[in-house]
Amino acid sequence: MIDTLAILAIFSGLFFFLSGSIGLLRLPDLFTRLHALAKADNVGLALVALGVIILEPAVVNDIKIVIIWLLVMAASAISSHLVARHALRENRNDD
């Protein structure tokens, strides 16, 4: 029962990962691609992490996984911001 729940969470996370990477490949420009990426980063990893937390018995490791998820959320927001900002500045220089 609990295993089923974990598998369900992980596979719904996978859906977001796969759609994120397909979006990265198919969307027309950098900014929309970054938008697709954020889905994989935030929701995808959150669901996978949830599934792994359900499966992992040790509480210490569960806390670690939550920290990992929070870090990835923060890092993904800041990285997207930096990459987009960099792209904008470079384009302005080229004009």
């Binding site: 992980i10 996978l14 990477s21 990893l45 992490a49 792994v52 990992i68 990459v83 470079e90």
Partner: protein
């Protein structure tokens, strides 16, 4: 490897399928790194590999029963941003 009855082997198979799909999503994302066209596009693919790598490490930790892999995922999540910062800060030297 994992102790338990029939349900754990189903769980193992499900986790392995998830692992393969995650790697597939990295593969799709890497096409963006290959295609480009701009450095930012390539870097957005690296961001995806960072997050996908964290997810893969979490699932590998459950599958291989190595808890240290949570530490690896933690380190990867912590340092994911350093590469991006290096890219955006060290470049644009043409003035």
């Amino acid at each position: 490897m994992m102790t338990g009855g029939a349900s754990t082997s189903i769980l193992t198979i499900a986790l392995l399928i998830a692992l393969n799909l995650l790697l597939l999503s990295l593969l799709i994302g890497l096409f963006r790194a290959w295609l480009g066209p701009s450095v930012e596009d390539r870097f957005s693919a690296i961001l995806l590999i960072g997050t996908g790598g964290v997810a893969i490490l979490l699932i590998l930790a459950i599958l291989l029963q190595i808890t240290a892999l949570y530490d690896v995922a933690l380190v990867l999540a912590l340092l994911a941003v350093v590469g991006t910062v290096a890219l955006t800060q060290s470049e644009s030297n043409h003035d």
